[in-house]
């Protein structure tokens, strides 16, 4: 696909330069984070220009070693992983069947369309509106500073992805297969698990990855609801700014550690990002 048109050479060169500028802009911040994390702290701001490693300074892994050997960074990383994975699991367990139901069955009282939009509407809700009731709720339930609280919340906020996108994935599968299975005496559950689920698996994996990434990146709730044991990595990251100023070297190391996992996931599910983040409204 795409529109192929003949172009005169100079314009192509201009286009290429523009493309490179755009790409450079897109990766600059990440590049700078990586470079800063590789500099000895004393040289953070003494190396000028764009600080090319090896050319302009001798990179060191010292900051990384310090950061990874700190107890706090390890357990907050572990917390982030646990919360992201379990929240995604819950969201998928609730969302995929719901998406399937919306794709395959007809709902009367509230139409399928409206149900879908209803699920979707949660993404509209600004988190700060519900952070206070959640805080008080978790306090009553004695769940402040627990992973469970974060899992419940993040599952809620990623549920729309799971529902809406899996609905679309199932809609795109021909229903005939399941109908044939039903004729053969399969129950609806078996038809769902044996036939529809495997066929939709690639999309569902992508949805799961999106849920993991969003949960991983979540900050507001983690800040409000955790204090010690359940602290996630982004909240820990916020601690690199101490009373006497910013420790840029640790901050950069932590920032890169924080954004590493979600960006890798993003690369793995490239093909699904458009569909995923637009809730299937645009097909990539």
């Amino acid at each position: 696909m795409g529109v192929v048109r003949k172009k005169s050479t100079p314009l192509t060169v201009v286009r290429y330069i523009l493309v490179l500028v755009v790409v450079a802009w897109a990766i600059f911040l990440i590049y700078w984070g990586v470079v800063t994390s590789l500099k000895p702290p004393a040289e953070t701001f003494t190396i000028t220009g764009i600080s090319i490693p090896f050319l302009q300074f001798q990179p060191t892994l010292e900051n990384w070693r310090t950061e990874l050997s700190t107890r706090e960074s390890r357990f907050t990383l572990a917390n982030s992983v646990v919360v992201a994975v379990l929240a995604t699991l819950v969201a998928m367990l609730l969302g995929v069947p719901a998406g399937y139901a919306l794709a395959r069955f007809q709902f009367r009282r509230m139409k399928n369309r409206d149900l879908t939009v209803w699920f979707l509407s949660q993404r509209v809700l600004p988190p700060v509106v519900v952070v206070i009731p959640f805080f008080l709720l978790m306090r009553t339930l004695k769940l402040l500073d627990t992973q469970l609280a974060l899992i419940l919340l993040n599952a809620t906020f990623t549920l729309p992805f799971a529902v809406v996108i899996s609905r679309q994935a199932f809609q795109e599968l021909p229903a005939e297969l399941e109908e044939a299975a039903a004729v053969d005496g399969c129950s609806d559950f078996t038809a769902f698990f044996r036939i529809a689920f495997p066929l939709a698996a690639p999309t569902l994996v992508a949805v799961a990855a999106i849920c993991v990434a969003f949960t991983w990146n979540e900050f507001l709730f983690a800040l409000a609801l955790t204090s010690l044991k359940a602290k996630t990595f982004p909240v820990y990251l916020a601690g690199a700014e101490d009373t006497r100023g910013v420790q840029f070297w640790f901050m950069a190391t932590r920032a890169i550690l924080a954004l590493g996992p979600p960006t890798v996931l993003a690369l793995l599910i490239q093909r699904y990002i458009v569909r995923g983040l637009t809730f299937g409204a645009v097909k990539g």
Binding site: Y100, D114, P126, P234, A238, A240
Partner: protein, 287 residues
């Protein structure tokens, strides 16, 4: 179809519905009731009627953060969408290394926003940060990024634009690539100019996609919290104290839960107005 009307469907969908009711609708009601009380932890809540809502009108800090947020949303969303379209047009043709470039452009989208804010802190650092050190060596001039209200605001905008323009680009590109080639052929025969082709053919055809992008970005932009929290902390002064940050502080730093709930509801109302402008369009998508 045989599958259409089975009661088994409820087994599939009800858990999800109950979950949402429990974790979204309930907190919303709870929050609504809170907004009629003066709540101090450790002391009994006191019913104050509409006090908290009346306070909204006299609160200049609210006015400040509302103004900041609205201007911010308007600017960041329009720049992101316009840049997204331009970059998508740039990429919408054969070129070497396209898939690599596209992959690199995707990176910002999934970056942890708090981390982005903190990386911003290093990049915008005034004495020796990369941008200022380059400016210094070229023009002997540096930008007071985080010490001046205006520039701090620009810094926040830049980070947000950095993170979300790629998303707009990606979606618009997907829209462009789904257009059939034939529509252009006739135009080429007419030898219309690039701009005319874009205005008369391309844009009308990708307009639905652009509207989706616009809506999604509008909704998300109202939520902004993380980047501001980490980059400027709302400062200098209150120059970048966006709505979510103000609400968060009122509620969870000073424990004025009732008023913070009222603030939350005002934000919700604004977002709902915007969503309703697009509502019909959204429903069509899921027909």
């Amino acid at each position: 179809m045989s599958l259409k009307n089975r009661s088994i469907k409820y087994a599939f969908i009800l858990p999800g519905i109950f979950w949402v009711l429990a974790f979204t609708i309930f907190p919303l009601f709870y929050s609504f009731s809170l907004s009629f009380f003066r709540v101090r932890l450790g002391k009994p809540a006191r019913f104050v009627g509409l006090d908290n809502f009346l306070r909204l009108f006299g609160d200049y800090k609210l006015g400040n953060s509302l103004r900041i947020t609205l201007i911010y949303v308007a600017i960041t969303v329009s720049i992101q969408v316009i840049l997204g379209i331009l970059i998508a047009l740039l990429f919408n043709q054969e070129m070497k290394g396209k898939s690599l470039f596209r992959a690199l452009l995707i990176l910002p989208i999934f970056c942890t926003p708090v981390a982005v804010g903190y990386l911003g802190l290093t990049v915008f650092y005034e004495e020796g940060g990369p941008i200022n050190s380059i400016l210094m060596s070229l023009f002997d001039w540096k930008i007071p990024w985080l010490s001046q209200p205006f520039w701090a605001w620009v810094a926040v905008l830049l980070l947000d634009i950095w993170q979300w323009t790629p998303f707009c680009f990606l979606v618009v590109l997907a829209g462009l690539q789904s257009l059939p080639d034939e529509v252009y052929d006739a135009a080429y025969l007419d030898s219309a100019s690039e701009w005319e082709i874009f205005r008369k053919i391309t844009f009308p055809m990708i307009q639905p996609v652009v509207i989706i992008v616009l809506l999604l970005r509008l909704i998300e932009s109202f939520k902004i919290f993380d980047v501001v929290y980490s980059l400027t902390g709302g400062g200098p002064g209150t120059a970048t104290e966006v709505y979510s940050l103000y609400t968060y502080r009122t509620g969870l730093k000073f424990f004025d839960f009732g008023y913070a709930s009222a603030l939350g509801y005002l934000l919700l109302a604004m977002v709902m107005v915007i969503v309703n402008l697009f509502f019909r369009r959204v429903r069509q998508v899921y027909e």
